[in-house]
């Protein structure tokens, strides 16, 4: 079933702003996903990771002003006609949405939702589309798929609905799968199952994957490369193992160290709060929360600099990073 030519994704200097450009939310983000590669985008709420993901499919709200370029293979996605974009959306790039409770049409039977994807982009008759839909539903782990295909979304649990959304995404046989926090709305046990499913299907179909998550541990298990976003910018990007075990940006390190560990004392946090969109500084946005920050950090924009093989960081104090005491204890009020 795998499509012959897996195309890579290139995001170049992507900017997204609201209020006629007055409120930038994504600022010059560039990264590349090789064909068949899994790329993770990590960051807090409001860091711009979801918008970055949605911009690939042109699914931003109408008020958003977009700049830069997104290329799929050799096509620039922002320059496509409406018809071409429809074609890309349905047959090359698919998206798994964050909240399975709202992303399924409540009045369509789930089997019809999946079959519709197949029918709308390929010339197949209804019965064949339905058969294929049931087959795909089986592949995403829905038992007794032919019977369950006649159910409505409200008869399904969150995890099952997410499987339906994944089935819909797969039905168009995409070369690139976008997953925008696909497990955030699910409980932990279901989460693991969904992630394993996405991971397995990606390998089977040799799709590229852009996985967006606020949870760096989810990305760590599934992606070859990872980008860390803060205040609308990439602050670090590189191979997952390197970023995870040798982070080259104080924010990444803080993020990793504030992961909960079992049996260890109180949970560590990063002091302070990220800046609000609209008040992102030109200089290092993390400086106010960073123990390494100097006057230089607050003076001018910090460029992304190479810190290893295909590994970049937006920090000028990389050399002092290993020695720093970064994460504070939480204030007990």
């Amino acid at each position: 079933m795998s499509t012959a030519s897996a195309a890579g994704l290139q995001v170049e200097d992507l900017t997204i702003a609201f209020n006629g450009g007055a409120t930038p939310v994504v600022r010059g983000v560039s990264f590349e996903i090789a064909p068949g590669e899994a790329f993770g985008l990590v960051g807090e709420s409001g860091s711009g990771k979801s918008l970055t993901c949605r911009s690939v499919l042109g699914l931003l709200p109408p008020a958003a002003a977009v700049g830069g370029r997104v290329r799929l293979g050799d096509r620039s996605l922002f320059d496509l006609s409406r018809r071409e974009l429809q074609h890309v959306r349905g047959s090359q790039v698919s998206m798994v949405f964050q909240d399975p409770m709202t992303a399924l049409n409540p009045v369509l039977r789930v089997g019809d939702s999946v079959a519709q994807v197949i029918q709308s982009h390929r010339r197949v008759d209804r019965r064949a589309a339905r058969r294929e839909a049931i087959e795909i539903m089986g592949r995403v782990g829905i038992r007794d798929a032919s019977r369950r295909s006649r159910s409505y979304p409200h008869e399904f649990s969150g995890g099952m609905r997410q499987r339906i959304l994944i089935a819909m995404a797969l039905a168009s046989q995409p070369t690139l799968l976008l997953a925008d926090e696909p497990t955030t709305a699910l409980d932990v046990i279901v989460q693991a199952g969904i992630l394993r499913l996405i991971d397995r299907l990606r390998r089977e179909e040799s799709m590229s994957l852009l996985l967006v998550s606020h949870d760096i541990s989810i990305v760590a298990g599934m992606c070859e490369r990872v980008g860390v976003m803060y205040a609308g910018q990439l602050v670090e990007e590189g191979p997952t193992a390197e970023v995870l075990f040798r982070p080259r940006h104080p924010y990444t390190r803080a993020l990793i160290e504030s992961l909960p560990e079992t049996g260890e004392g109180p949970l560590s946090t990063i002091p302070g709060a990220p800046p609000e969109p609209g008040s992102f500084p030109e200089s290092c946005a993390f400086a106010p929360r960073c123990p390494l920050a100097t006057a230089e950090c607050r003076a001018a924009p910090i460029p992304l600099v190479p810190v290893g093989a295909r590994h970049v960081s937006r920090c000028i104090h990389v050399d002092r990073l290993d020695a720093m005491e970064l994460v504070g204890e939480p204030d007990v009020a």
Binding site: Q86, F97, L104, N105, L108, Q116, S120, H121
Partner: protein
């Protein structure tokens, strides 16, 4: 979309049955009452003891008796039979008066809400113009221009009352088009028409259906009013409004001439309102 056209009536029938058999007294009374009214209209020739225009001048202006349950009018016509026969015309006015504006208004509202921009602005202004006039005044004005008769009444109702449906559906569409499953439908590369009719429409139609129940009553009242003014159904055809108009000269001596047709209008209004209320309740419950 052809597939949808085939499936819609089946789904509709199933949904209607599920609604009719769901508990709730107002709902049951409404469903039963409206079904009865429809049966009466369909089987009018079997129920009515006399023909609607059967005259017997010898027995004119008699009060209710066992022979003439609702009495007779000045021409000796059986009021009971005429009220029964009139239900055919009046329900027809309701059905046609709802269906045409419903379809037009829903489609217009869907386009306005979905595409927005100048299209929405233009449609919005047109809707405002129509809304500025009272419903009945506008209908009477249009019929007065086109000339009396049932066909012109339907045209007048269609011209005036589509705006109500357009407004309801537009509002619902505005909120529905931001919902995640509509965004997801865009993400799947569906065409605008497909998204509008398969993903938005089924999710915005319910309030319009609920409104159509009270609109039904409104149309019958409009039909009766125009009949009363001599602008609607023309005698000797039996229609409740015409019957009331004809009987008003005898209101002190033969009140049954206006009482029973008036009662019929009230009963229709009562049952359809219950049905509408029940429908609204039901939809709220299903939504949750």
């Amino acid at each position: 979309m052809s597939d949808y056209a085939v499936k819609l009536p089946v789904t509709g029938a199933r949904a209607a049955w599920r609604f009719a058999s769901s508990p709730g007294w107002s709902r049951r009374i409404g469903v039963t009452g409206v079904s009865l009214l429809v049966l009466i209209a369909v089987f009018a020739p079997l129920i009515a003891p006399y023909k609607s225009d059967e005259q017997d001048l010898a027995t004119g202006l008699h009060g209710p008796t066992w022979h003439h349950l609702f009495g007779t009018d000045q021409l000796g016509q059986d009021v009971f039979s005429r009220v029964i026969y009139a239900s055919r015309i009046d329900l027809q006015i309701g059905i046609i008066g709802v269906t045409i504006p419903f379809v037009i208004g829903t489609i217009v509202g869907l386009f306005a809400g979905y595409y927005g921009g100048w299209l929405d602005a233009v449609i919005g202004r047109i809707v405002d113009i129509f809304t500025a006039f009272p419903f009945l005044v506008l209908v009477i004005a249009i019929v007065a221009m086109l000339g009396p008769g049932l066909r012109n009444l339907y045209i007048a109702i269609a011209v005036v009352s589509w705006v109500a449906y357009a407004r309801i559906v537009r509002g619902e569409t505005l909120s529905a088009k931001r919902r995640e499953y509509v965004v997801a439908a865009h993400g799947l590369g569906y065409s605008g028409l497909r998204i509008m009719f398969r993903h938005v429409l089924p999710n915005v139609i319910a309030p319009a259906i609920v409104f159509s129940m009270s609109d039904f009553v409104l149309d019958i009242v409009a039909g009766a009013s125009l009949g009363f003014f001599g602008l609607g159904v023309q005698p000797p055809q039996a229609e409740w409004g015409v019957m009331i108009a004809d009987g008003r000269n005898f209101i002190t001596t033969a009140p049954w001439l206006v009482f029973f047709p008036g009662l019929a209008i009230v009963i229709v209004g009562f049952f359809f309102s219950l049905l509408g209320d029940g429908l609204a309740d039901y939809i709220r419950r299903v939504d949750r």
